[in-house]
Amino acid sequence: MPRNAVGREIPEEVAGKPLRPFQGAFATVPEGRKAAPPLKTIRPGEEKVLPSLEEAIRRVELADGMTISFHHCFRDGDLLVLRVVEACARLGIKDLRLFPTALFPCHEPLNRYIEEGIITRIEGSMNGPVGAFVSGGGKLAEPAVLRSHGGRWRAVECGEVHIDVAFIAAPTADPYGNANGMWGPNACGPISFSVVDSWYADKVIVVTDNLVPYPAIPATIEQGYVDFVVTVDQVGDPAGIATGTLRITRSPTQLRIAKLAAEAVVAAGLVREGMGFQAGAGGISLAATDFVAKEMARRGVKAAFVMGGVTRFLIGMLREGLVNTILDGQAFDVGAVEALREHPRHAIITPGFYADYNSRGCATYMLDFAFLGGTEVDYNFNVNVNTHSDGQLLHGIGGHQDVASGAKVTIITIPTIRGRIPTIREEVTTVTTPGEVVDLVVTERGIAVNPRRPDLKEDLERAGLPVRSLEEMKIEAERLVGKAKRPMFGDEIVALIQWRDGTVIDVVRKVAGWQ
């Protein structure tokens, strides 16, 4: 089987579709033209509002084998995916391809519909139980496909994925289809993930629980792309947005990592007027961002922009004048949703704006540095964010690849041990992000510098920071945790991991046993 540029065996085709192996972060030169949705018109006075999802599904003639899409802006508080799939099941529609931006633990009931053949293919991130279920093998007709935020945008735009019907959960909408996520009883922040779906899908259904008089502004989703508007009692639960640990960690180990990461940024001379950076939302990233913010305040410098899953911490930086602009692609807590309405320099952006490979500019390319996480990292600085060391597919890519390939200094913060599982490996279980776009790996035991960056190594050493090799840190950690069994992988491929340009950087195989 041929190997791609990160040494992974990639089959030439899967389910009759040829696969392009990953060749390098910026190797692909796109050809051809963008896909095009069908031309449509409307006459004055035509109504778009329908009383129920079932009615809408009938009117758009949703049929067996079609592709339906969703955004994940409610994260673990999403209600729409299950409601639509249930309605399809009731209407006898089957063999659907689900194309969400991401699924969460709340979507566990989907597993039943997968068993029943209502859903036979999934292209999208699977965080938690659905991913675990799919990892078991034999569940889907074709391997799942995972893409980064930018990769998904690109896939729709170039026609790699054709959406038959886009369902867009809208916390506020008007009867003509203009919609946003900023207002309403269940506001969830930007819903800009769905913008590309609205542009390219054959049919677009906006679903809202807050129908307002025309016009709903801002129109993140615009009337010209929307076929129908459906009202429901509740469109999503904002309480589910803040999943995981959206607070600054108190763990001494995590804080040490965060501190080291922030010190590395300072040592590299990146804390300066006009900087731009990505702040992750994990406990370590939040703490690292907090340390950087303190250093900015101490030096009296202001960042030009910051992006990331937006949290109240970033909002605080904006209000304190430490940041000029927040580029907001996704709210990670309710505080961020509220703030979106109040501050003129808190702007909604689309994944196309920040991450599309096939574009003439990505906001991620303007980043000076970024804090990112991972489940594993290897001697070649490759990072795994998708699978755990036991082979289970439990996380999506998010913006990981997009940010890593854009930022001038990409920093992976990761403890060397997580619940006895060592995270530094000779080879990661799954390559999500290639080492060529990763500069530093920061653990509680020190900082590993990618040999491609001798300049950074010099900066860090001059500042007296503990520069160490991944090999050394791995040996130390393994002394503590002892020898573990490793999964053996069979032939069955349960998921493809795409690089942001549409090539395949890795595949996830079913676990066949342990050795």
Partner: protein
């Protein structure tokens, strides 16, 4: 060995294991592991080794673990088995030495001593990575009376397994008459560098501890002298500090404990209220030619307060300060770093002394003041502190 009772040891916390044992007709080991199949076999091996070592062939063993390391599993199983029988010498056999450790110089830097609760597997999991000069594994205040036996096993296993690098590793035992002797018998097997003696009030206790250490070093084959750090935390201790400091050649540092002291005196925990006791500790240590280490600062959130207190401790003559959280270490080190002026002075003193030695001159003066031996030693210590604080001291030895 036969089990007599059903017994439990450990917890369901992350990085810990809950082990239950009971008498049975045959040997049965059941394992439930957070990491699934990854470590199950290894955990079974560890359990079998422990059981074999004690000659136990009939027991039911249940191990429910949350990502516990081998040495935690071992400690928890030993703890449960200890409780299920009547203890005995079998539990005090030296563990195989899994880690290189060398003795620690008498006068080394001891800017920070980080206390880590001795029965908390989670807190101990990363204890080798924190940046303090000294780590103190605690068997005293942080361990409830009913868990002392379990903590002894855990501390011993941590000591024999983890590589603490160039950190000095200490154990704070309980007062000798309240479990301290039992603590020593177990933890010395792990070869710590030193023992912190809490609530030290008389030189007799220190001498007694020194005697016990001498005996156990011989019995367990420890190739260095185990140091003693008496903690002065009562008025009686403060009055006896000069004698305590000189009670044994093993005493390398006197520590001050502010919480118990102020509680007993009935005074505020303010700088002024404790100034006499602190001064007494510093003066006693200086007279004996040993170091003095200040009390812990109890408010983890108050970084500025910690810095101020550590800075004042330095001014008073303390060489180090206690920490109850790894986050406090850096602040302590920063506060104890010499000022640029001090470094400048120290460089001058050292180079003047070197010059004098080269020229064969006996006495030498720097900035018009005689440089005698204490001054030279002081200057050298300042440079050592400066290097530890990563200050520029390129031209000094």
């Amino acid at each position: 060995m036969e089990l007599k009772y059903e017994a439990v040891c450990g917890s369901g916390e992350r990085s810990d294991a809950l082990v239950r044992v009971r008498p049975a007709e045959a040997l049965a080991i059941r394992i439930s592991s957070k990491t699934g199949p990854m470590y199950e076999e290894r955990i079974r091996e560890v359990a079998e080794e422990v059981l074999q070592g004690l000659g136990i062939t009939r027991a039911e063993v249940e191990i429910c673990e949350q990502g516990a390391y081998d040495h935690v599993i071992r400690a928890r199983l030993l703890g449960a088995l200890f409780r299920a029988g009547d203890g005995g010498e079998a539990f005090r056999r030296p563990a195989p030495i899994a880690v290189e450790r060398r003795g620690s110089p008498r006068g080394r830097l001891r800017r920070s001593r980080l206390y880590v609760p001795g029965n908390n597997a989670r807190a101990l999991a990363f204890v080798d990575t924190f940046g303090s000069d000294c780590v103190v594994l605690d068997l005293e205040d942080s361990v409830p009376p009913a868990e002392k036996d379990a903590a002894r096993f855990l501390v011993r296993e941590v000591l024999s397994t983890l590589d603490f690098g160039d950190k000095e590793v200490w154990v704070r035992i309980n007062p000798l008459l309240r479990g301290g002797r039992e603590d020593l018998g177990m933890v010395l097997l792990g070869r710590p560098h030193g023992i912190c003696l809490p609530k030290a009030e008389s030189p007799v206790e220190v001498a007694e501890l020194a005697g016990l250490l001498y005996e156990l070093e011989g019995r367990y084959g420890i190739p260095w002298m185990v140091w003693i750090m008496p903690i002065i935390e009562s008025p009686r201790g403060a009055f006896a500090a000069p004698e305590i400091a000189k009670a044994s050649e093993r005493v390398v540092c006197l520590a001050f404990g502010a919480e118990d002291y102020s509680a007993e005196v009935g005074c505020d925990r303010s700088w002024e209220a404790l100034l006499w006791a602190r001064s007494q500790v510093v003066a006693a240590a200086a007279t004996a030619g040993i170091q003095a280490s200040d009390a812990v600062f109890p408010d983890i959130e108050d970084e500025d307060g910690l810095y101020r207190e550590a800075r004042r401790a330095k001014e008073l003559g303390f060489d180090g300060k206690g920490a109850i959280h790894p986050l406090q270490i850096e602040m302590i080190h920063r506060a104890l770093a010499p000022t640029p002026e001090e470094v400048e002075w120290a460089k001058g003193v050292v180079s003047a002394a070197e010059e004098a030695e080269e020229k064969g001159m006996g006495a030498v003066a720097y900035r018009g003041k005689m440089v005698d031996r204490p001054v030279l030693l002081r200057a050298k210590r300042v440079l050592e502190l400066a290097r530890a604080a990563r200050m520029e001291v390129e031209d000094a030895a």
